[in-house]
Symmetry: C2
Subunit: 246 residues, 2 copies
C-alpha cells in the first residue's frame, strides 16, 4: 500500500482543532472527507500533533495509506480541490515508507506565537494574533524566556487535560523578538506538553508588562503547580510552523 | 472648532471601499456613524484616498472637525469602541490646524501589494494576498519595474473610471522583493492614478511568469492605451500603508 506524508497549512479560526469532534468541523475530518471524495477510500489519517480549536498551522504534518497507487502531486492537487472552501491547504505531498508516522517519527517541533502590542483593535490580524494593549518589554520577555530553556519539569506549564506520562521536557529554543508593534515568540523542542507554548507565552506576557519579575517566572517553574503559571495565551495567536523528521 | 486627523487600519474584505455606497458598508460610513454614536455630531470625514472595495489599509488618513473640544486620545478610544465589530481601527488621533486636509495636504503615498506565489490555496492569507500559482521571477519583475520609475504618462495603467485631469504621474519607487513564497511590491509616489498600483502589479506579474519581456512593459507604457496593459491585480492584495504630510 502506498503511504503518503502531507504538509498542511490551516487557518484555525473556524475549526474545532485537529482532531475529530462532535461540535464542529476539524482539520482531520475535512482531510479525511477530501480523501474519500477524491478516491472513495475511507482512511484514518495520523496527524503529527493535535492542535487545539483556534490554533493555526503553517506546517502540520500527517500520514495515511491508500490501496491504489497515485502520484503524490495528483493526491495533493485533488485534496486541495476537494478541501475547498475549508481554510485548509496541502502544501506538500510525498510518498513515504510504511514505517513513517507523522506523530512518532517527529524529532522536533516548532511553534510561533504572534502578539500584536498596541491599543487599537485588530483588523487584518483579527483571529491571527493576540492583541495585548499594555505595553510589553520584549527584551525582558526574551531574557526571562531563557530560564525555561533546557530540561525541566514543566508541570506548571501544562494543561490539566495533558495526557503525557511525564512532565519532563527539553525546551531547545524560546526567543522573543519585537518587530514594530508585533512581538513574535518562537519555540522549538523535541516535544511539548499540551498547552505548553500558550502557557509559557501567557507567563512571559506578565513579565513583559512588569507584573512579574524574571524571578517570578523561575519560581513558577520551580514550584511545579499549574495554578502558579500565568493564564494561557489565547489559541488564535499560535501557529504550528514546522515538524522535523530524520 | 477642533480639527482631528486620524490614522486608520482596515481589513477591506467585507467593505465596499472607503467611500459611502448604496450597496454595502464603507469605511467612511462606519467611521461617521461611530463619531455620531460617540458624541452626537453628524460630520462628514475627508479621507486621504478612496480605496476600492476589497483594498486594505494599514495607514489610511482622514480629517474631521467637531464642535466640542475633546482630547484626541478620548476621540480615538471612543471611535474604536463604537466601530466594533467593524474591521476598522483608529491607530492614531491628533489635533491639527483647520487648514489640514487629509487628501490635499498629502505629499506622498505608499502602497504594498502582497502576492503569494505557490500552488496550494491560501488559508490564513485568504483575502489578504493575491495567490499566483505560476512561478514568478521576482528579480525579473523588479528589474522591469524600474522602467516605470520617473515622470510618465500612465494612461495605460489607469482605470477607465479614473477622474484625474492629467495622466502624468511621477513614480518614485517600485520595488519587487521575494520573501520565501511571498512577493511584496512596494510603490511610492506623490500621487497615483485610480487603479495604478493594481494595474502595474498585474503587468509585472506577466513579466514574472515570462509571458512578457521587459520590453513589453516598456511598450505598454509607451503606447498610452489601457487595453495594452496587463489585467489589474485583484484588490485584496493591495494595502495603503502610509500617507506622508509636511
Amino acid at each position: 500500500m502506498p503511504c503518503y506524508r502531507i504538509t498542511i497549512e490551516y487557518d484555525g479560526r473556524d475549526l474545532v482543532g485537529w482532531q475529530r469532534q462532535k461540535n464542529g468541523p476539524s482539520v482531520q475530518q475535512h482531510i479525511e472527507e477530501a480523501i474519500f471524495d477524491f478516491c472513495g477510500e475511507e482512511v484514518r489519517i495520523q496527524g503529527a500533533g493535535r492542535t487545539d480549536a483556534g490554533v493555526h498551522a503553517l506546517g502540520q504534518v500527517a500520514n495515511f495509506a491508500l490501496t491504489s497507487n497515485r502520484k503524490p502531486q495528483v493526491v495533493m492537487n485533488a485534496l486541495n480541490q476537494h478541501l475547498k472552501p475549508a481554510p485548509i491547504a496541502i502544501l506538500e505531498c510525498e510518498e513515504v515508507g510504511e514505517e513513517f508516522c507523522a506523530r512518532f517519527s517527529a524529532i522536533k517541533w516548532h511553534y510561533l506565537y504572534r502578539i500584536i502590542n498596541r491599543r487599537a483593535p485588530l483588523t487584518v490580524d483579527a483571529g491571527l494574533a493576540w492583541l495585548v494593549k499594555r505595553e510589553l518589554d520584549a527584551d525582558a520577555m526574551n531574557e526571562a524566556a531563557q530560564i525555561l530553556i533546557g530540561r525541566h519539569d514543566f508541570t506548571s506549564f501544562r494543561a490539566a487535560a495533558c495526557q503525557a506520562k511525564s512532565p519532563m521536557r527539553t525546551l531547545e529554543r524560546l526567543v522573543v523578538e519585537r518587530k514594530g508593534e508585533e512581538i513574535q515568540v518562537r519555540a522549538s523542542a523535541i516535544s511539548f506538553l499540551h498547552n505548553q507554548v500558550r502557557s509559557m507565552v501567557g507567563s512571559l506576557s506578565l513579565v513583559g508588562t512588569g507584573q512579574w519579575a524574571r524571578e517570578d517566572l523561575a519560581a513558577a517553574l520551580e514550584v511545579k503547580d499549574r495554578q502558579r503559571a500565568g493564564p494561557n495565551a489565547p489559541p488564535y495567536g499560535l501557529y504550528l510552523t514546522r515538524v522535523d523528521y530524520d
